[in-house]
Point group: C2
């Protein structure tokens, strides 16, 4: 597939890519570069690279594929540091959660003879950093590619094969469609998770202690995704703010209807909402996107 | 502890109590009664009772402890059917999620020589029915008791020991405090989970298909608790409506502040919210109320 792949930014996602590539053996050499020295030290200690470098030139000048896996707020400086050293004819991709934002930055640099093929593997956990990576993180998950129509078809295929080699399924769509769908399936749920935790903990100390103690009644599920990488989520909320605000407004409108049904003790309306939610859950499990184990396999 | 315990209503919770009691051997005989014939058939088939009966008299007349584990909307008729047959001096408890609601119903019946000691095991999964029961469902979970101050101390101790024998930890508080805390840790999270699923699926068919496909980005966590027993949740929303509406109002106010921070691209404020959420998650894990495995042990 590729002789050499370079990973710029080695957190949860970057280090998972390394682990997956090494497991399947599809890439000969994987070089990693992270501007954070403490991350590079962990990478070294945990043996998460074929070669760690602190030189952007060495990182990318022989790479057939360069994958940038930094938070979006570091994306521009990452591209800036490598732009002069990219091999002519090579492919540049990323893993960021907002595709229009990444696109705008790349367009600014006006790179020549580089195939820019944005990727978003819809996978992750609430953990961050290189030690949190998992070799099977992308298995049975979707990776969305949002290439420009002018990009070489054969290069898009190569990037698709790259993710497929790690067990991922591929979908190609526009950056705009991506940002719209992800605002519903990922960004809005994170806003809401953060907000319910914020609401539940906004009490005196004694009540907060009780809230923690009895969180197994539902709240604890929300706290998981509200423990995700703060920098990454700050970037996402800022970069996809228009669509996220749209989502919040729709959520609030829906919540007002729900509140009305509760106030009016409207059993029929409530049961209707619940039945539909259950059907939706069933569809997600049927689509292989979640486990059917009670309590996700915990209690 | 008790010679005979009778379980009225054998769904997820009732059947878990049976399994737990049989596992630890602390009760000699467990009789079950469920007004739903199809449930009784499953109980029989799965061997989830020492004796299944369809007679309310036989169910409770020799029981030292009667545990009612029906949805709250069936609680009154359940009490009505057994009230004349309860053994003098016996203990009556329940498992319902709204303690003031259960209390009001019991007070109406004015039972004589019966110790009414309400219980709420804060445990469960999104599954329902007798086949969903688990013998270790209550292990390391809290059970809240909300007895009246006039009830015999020794009887409260017996009920505490009963839940402790199944691995539960005990907390005693007033029904009002219970309903307040649970409105935050359980009822409000369920409203919000239902509402985000409702919002995310309120699209044309094509978009809904995409929403299901990419739900691993966060949404799927919410769909789990939104798949819980519809009847039970309809009852809870109606019976604890005042406190739940209070919670919704607080949630909405907090969401408005959050929306403002996103609109104004206020990085500092956003990071502040995220850090606090993470601390809260850490406290829940430290309190043993959730697992620290990434993605709850799934991906």
């Amino acid at each position: 597939m590729f002789e050499q792949v370079s990973i710029i930014g080695c957190g949860l996602i970057g280090s998972s890519v390394f682990r997956a590539l090494k497991k399947n053996g599809s890439v000969k050499r994987v070089i990693t570069f992270d501007s954070d020295k403490s991350v590079s030290e962990i990478i070294k200690k945990e043996n998460l690279s074929d070669k760690i470098t602190s030189s952007p030139e060495e990182a990318v000048s022989n790479a057939d594929l360069v994958l940038i896996s930094t938070p979006l707020s570091s994306f521009e400086s990452a591209v800036d540091s490598i732009k002069r050293h990219l091999k002519s004819g090579s492919i540049l991709t990323d893993t960021s959660s907002v595709k229009k934002g990444a696109d705008l930055i790349i367009k600014k640099f006006n790179l020549k003879n580089i195939s820019w093929i944005p990727s978003h593997p819809v996978a992750g956990t609430e953990k961050s950093g290189p030690t949190a990576g998992l070799s099977d993180l992308f298995k049975d998950r979707w990776t969305i590619l949002t290439p420009d129509s002018k990009v070489k078809e054969s290069d898009v295929k190569k990037v698709a094969l790259f993710w497929e080699s790690m067990g991922s399924k591929i979908k190609i769509m526009s950056a705009g469609d991506h940002d719209k769908i992800l605002s519903l399936t990922s960004h809005l749920p994170h806003v809401i998770a953060y907000n319910i935790v914020k609401t539940a903990m906004d009490n005196d100390e004694k009540t907060n202690k009780d809230v923690i103690r009895y969180s197994a009644g539902g709240l604890r599920d929300f706290t998981r995704i509200a423990a995700s990488n703060p920098i990454m989520w700050k970037d996402i909320f800022i970069d996809n703010s228009d669509l996220i605000i749209d989502g919040i407004n729709r959520f609030s409108k829906s919540l007002d209807e729900f509140k009305k049904a509760i106030t009016e003790k409207d059993s029929k309306k409530l049961l209707e909402i619940f039945e539909k939610s259950k059907e939706f859950r069933d569809a997600i499990i049927k689509a292989g996107q979640d486990t059917d184990k009670p309590g996700f396999g915990r209690k």
